[in-house]
Subunit: 413 residues, 4 copies
């Protein structure tokens, strides 16, 4: 059995923005014996988790569950709805938006990659990675597309590489204002079940998500939530697809089954995760993440280090990116923190490699865990020679102590 | 938490040909906390399971691990190695061979689907589903392909829908005899780690497999084992692919990491499964399955019911298909057995729906479990009004009692 | 981690009359993190399991939960209710009744050990071990005790060493008929939650039980259920006691807590076990065990081997003892079965060592598991050279197939 | 299944001085299926854990494992070695020493309870609870006992209620200096596997311990380590005993078995715990606890709150008691901290109820977990209106950052 003993004692602090820590209840649920995926018990389970996921996406339309990563769910979205050579508009909010764009290109889709055009003091090579989607740029681009060559607009809801949560209703409004028929595809891999998200109300055509963030599961499940318009588009879309095909999935899911072998034990975990989220209530879940994010940002402010997200209006409730001072290799700091304090932080990806690190504050966490994570960062930054204006740990403690969460104590059933 | 209590007491007998029963050790391993898939501990784990899987496939070349089902691994094989419109020869051994053929067609590959041309007494509509791959048919077809339009030959090693284990070296010999450059792709989803399989020695270019059969894991991992020739072919192959792309995988796997989030907790299980298989020794694993299969076939012979596989030379060590008498709905018998005896059997798929059921005898099992499964079948068949020539349970007991397995008792480490 | 791999593959068949197989749900529940046994969450748990255990014992009076084995619960019963030199009447139904008698003597209690006085064909040295408690012998003894020197009558409800379930209401009636004030103490370690048992209605003063039988838990919890009369007796009883003391336990239990550290994780399992038993209903639990016992006895009858319990009126629903023919070492047969078929059977204890083995049919089991166990016995007996009249496996299959259990299929909540 | 959801998200911080947090590896090990405690696999396990425990106690003589709490192991020590009316000298270091004394009295042993006779500024009612055993007082008492009426000296190694680790070799030296034959009995329930302890070298006759502290298991196992002299004394000792009897235990343990049903699943956990401790090395384990304790005491010093242990020479490496200012109800602070920050602290027991709380820093922990616990205390104390001189959190961070632990990173096997 893997012993996971790189650090000999105590619990590892997994503060990357996903996979997030998996609650014991879910790990236990996942360890129940595998059953026949064609038997009656499985069908009942399938219907239950499909229905539960519709509630999480806030949709009445089909949700598709893939035995894959979130990356697979991206591919599913593109390959079901588009044809070779189709033009899509994507928006560069960070590394994951960029990877999605590269995937689209690999699949034979023509992409236009919009980006914030301004400059940036701290990250001059990546100003677009510090801000949310500029909906007006999308609107302008769509208005120019008078013959409707653009088939889809693809944006990331919560950009995991930066800690920016874009305003999706504004994107919808932009498309509507341009009176453009393009599909709206949204990656909410790290946003779902952390930040407010409303597939139907916000007029999203394809939502893409995964299991290992707000749903508190290990990685291994990808999701698509669909609109009727997306389903209609898939009837004529011509990118080759089989494994990802919505049509068979949606049809066979009606009875709770899947066209090929699903990953049963992760679905046990999903069932448990849904029970936990339902018991808490989605609005409470979102408020919990907002409060944590404020505590963490109070710490970063005390350190006087720049937050990756330059626009307070779109600070992520899920993670906070911290830019290290010029000359300080953020990955060296991360490594020191990992080795000395058994704390995993998110690395700077792509254009911001070595320039920042990310603190995840999502899923199954609590105040003290976050204080510990901040303390670990603070000790590590100091050991690395970074001058900090003040104690972020103290600032977070002050914030959490003076902003009590809603009553937490539960009754035994 | 799911309670899995459709049957209120006792352990379910999961005798479908996969997912096979998952050993407690593996379920426990999978329930360890999820770690950072970009951290140093993960890299060590990744290298370990990649190396272990090469030993299972008996290859020195790269093995690719997907967070997907085996169906995904099929798609990976096709989309990496082929271009739109390429011609491939496939061979109909059963339902899964047929599904693979349909997938190829969906992906834009041109397929020729060879099949045994004879007649069959018991299943006149599916004679090809009772026999293994006829290598001479493949050889003849390839010899006719003088301009080498055929890019690949795709066959199923152990056809899970029928219980036929085709002779793969014979297929290799056929291709060689025809001096044809086509790639040889083999689905060994249910064969791997149950029946002898040698990727390198048998000259296979792409092997396709999954986690939920001989590897004793829950579903959720797909594998490709590659030859240098397959890797070379992928450089120029033009089917669109991103998630399935071998190139990034093989490159990043060198350090034990993955290009996108892997399903970490299943990899914990894979590590434990590899430890168990290594401790037993692959040859012992294969002998164990052969012995079980003989015991089960002794039971079916006592009942005097036809075995789905009509050719004793290719009887599967993994599962045994049992044809029910004309007029007896095999699925009704299965349902009765499930409800009365808490035993899951494999259904007849596709062309043989309702005409047969399948007894899985693979992975984490033992003599008494198989005797119980046979007893469950026997009671159910009788309750369904099927006349049985003799007691299969007794026949299996006689077989197992008179054919002792090699010494089983272990020492404590 | 222990690998439990004395047998390399498949699930062990644990058919001893306890510890019985522990359901996955309970093992998972037990693996949740340990909490503070003085905190509010523990108090809620404590109240829940104490209340649940009163329902299992069918009592309104206190139940005491010890972090100990059932043997400890015996000592608790004696040391709380008796004084040094007190006279108690015990009844020899088998090995465990004998051990309890020895314990009483060790603790300084004077014992009279009644036993069936007749002869026995098969086990001439242990005729009393093939029959239940003869209540009339107890009545006669008590009637002679005109000065009430006898302080307690101690009997075993379900004698685990023999498979005899004595008639406890008859013992109560005997005491009442003799108008004797002695306490009635009953060991129902293996009877509870398998066979009907009613602490209050049957007028029992101290019931003794354990976790590893009908409650389907691992060993490690002992129980006492008390009557007001027993509690009153404990006020003046003078055997030294501290760990086992009822007084502090009952007092502190009122709030769900314990006077010393309880074994928290087993209590998690107890909570789950109670939920399972409540969902099924105790009367269904008892009927289920009766049906299994009949199936197993049908097998033994087919073999034409004598059942340890000579009196059909008191055949145990929990286990069946099987006497081997003269000259056949039952333990050699058991060892052969263990090594060849991965099946654990109960050994003959004390006076019947080597002369019999025991098949447990209790707790978390089902028809096919019992058929497998019987098949394992049958193969092993034959390999050991025992002539069997007919196939017990077939007889059990016929019984189970023709006596369907009540509808088992459940709905998903 | 218990949901343990009094706090809806994140991991509870269990910082009581036992039960200590149970590592995932141990919880997983404990959830393996229960086996036959009379079968060969169990015997191998039994021998392994018995041998492992001798290494932990640093003894070559028998160690006895009870399915009980540590309280039971106390009773075992007394009832095996003593006779009714025997005189024993005990020493009041705190609540647990007092409970042991009460137990001895209940069992019919005559006790003299020595205590530090000085005064104390902060806890005038409990000066003896702030200091370690005064070996000279014991020596003087023994010297006066010229006719050797005193049969045993009983002291607590690490007093869990106060955080004082007494000097056991000094007690041994005192007994030797007095040339007294009394047995030396030591409670090291919370000391074992946290603080240095040497049963043989220190001349201890009976060591008493439990599973839920340094061994990192859930509660439910009690231990006695014995000297030949203790075993000899038990031959003539007359306190009634059966469950606790060393004689049968030691005899039957020779083959790895137990005289009555052991708590098998906790023994799986013990096997895993021993593997973890052996891998780390006991001296590293002790150094780890010392370092943590220094960090925690640095925090309390920064707060300028008195530490319960007034003598720095005997500060416990296992836990630290913190005295709250006069008028501040420590339990009210603890409750606030529990409700607001999901952190469990140890309560003040007996004479110090409401006057102090205890921070456990033992077993499966690490720097960040302790920083979090200290931060939780700090926030709670402030919210309760306690004036703190300085930030203890900062002090602990400074300590841990400037005192790196020995290299922690491990290699994958």
């Amino acid at each position: 059995m893997p012993t996971l003993d790189f650090h000999p004692t105590g619990r590892h602090f997994l503060q990357i923005p996903g996979p997030s820590p998996v609650p014991d209840r879910i790990l236990r649920a996942m360890s129940l014996p595998t059953i026949d995926h064609r038997g009656p018990e499985f069908g009942a389970l399938g219907l239950k988790v499909l229905s539960g996921m519709r509630a999480i996406f806030r949709t009445k339309h089909p949700v598709v569950i893939y035995p894959s990563s979130g990356t697979g769910a991206w591919e599913a979205a593109l390959s079901n709805a588009l044809s070779p050579g189709d033009l899509v508009v994507m928006y560069e909010t960070g590394h994951f938006a960029s990877l999605w764009q590269k995937m689209a290109a690999k699949l034979g889709v023509q992409t236009e990659f919009l980006a914030y055009a301004g400059s940036d003091e701290h990250l001059p090579n990546a100003p677009s990675w510090r801000r949310g989607v500029q909906a007006d740029m999308i609107e302008q681009r769509l208005r120019r597309d008078t013959d409707h060559r653009i088939k889809a607009v693809c944006v990331v809801h919560n950009e995991t590489s930066t800690g920016v949560t874009s305003d999706i209703p504004a994107v919808r409004a932009a498309i509507d204002a341009a009176k453009h028929p393009a599909l709206l595809m949204v990656d909410t891999i790290s946003g779902l079940a952390c930040a407010d998200y409303r597939h139907d109300e916000w007029g999203i055509d394809v939502s893409v998500s995964g299991s290992q963030k707000g749903l508190m599961l290990p990685p291994g499940i990808g999701f698509n939530a669909l609109s009727p318009k997306a389903l209609a588009a898939s009837k004529s879309a011509k990118l080759p697809r089989s494994f990802w095909g919505w049509d068979e999935m949606v049809e066979i899911n009606k009875d709770g089954y899947f066209p090929y072998t699903p990953n049963t034990n992760l679905l046990y975990g999903l069932d448990e995760a849904l029970a936990m989220l339902q018991a808490e209530g989605l609005d409470n879940v979102f408020a919990r993440h907002q409060r944590w994010a404020e505590g963490v940002r109070a710490a970063v402010a005390a350190w006087a280090l720049p937050i990756q997200c330059a626009d307070p209006a779109v600070h992520s409730p899920v993670l906070t990116g911290v830019i290290t001072p010029p000359g300080v290799d953020a990955d060296a700091v991360r490594r020191l923190i990992y080795e000395r304090f058994d704390l995993s932080l998110g690395t700077g990806l792509g254009k911001v490699k070595g320039r920042m690190f990310r603190i995840g504050h999502l899923g199954d966490s609590n105040d003290l865990t976050l204080v510990a994570a901040i303390a670990g960062c603070e000790m590590g930054l100091k050991l690395a020679g970074v001058k900090l204006a003040d104690s972020g740990t103290q600032a977070a403690m002050t914030y959490f102590a003076s902003h009590p969460a809603p009553a937490l104590l539960r009754k035994v059933a």
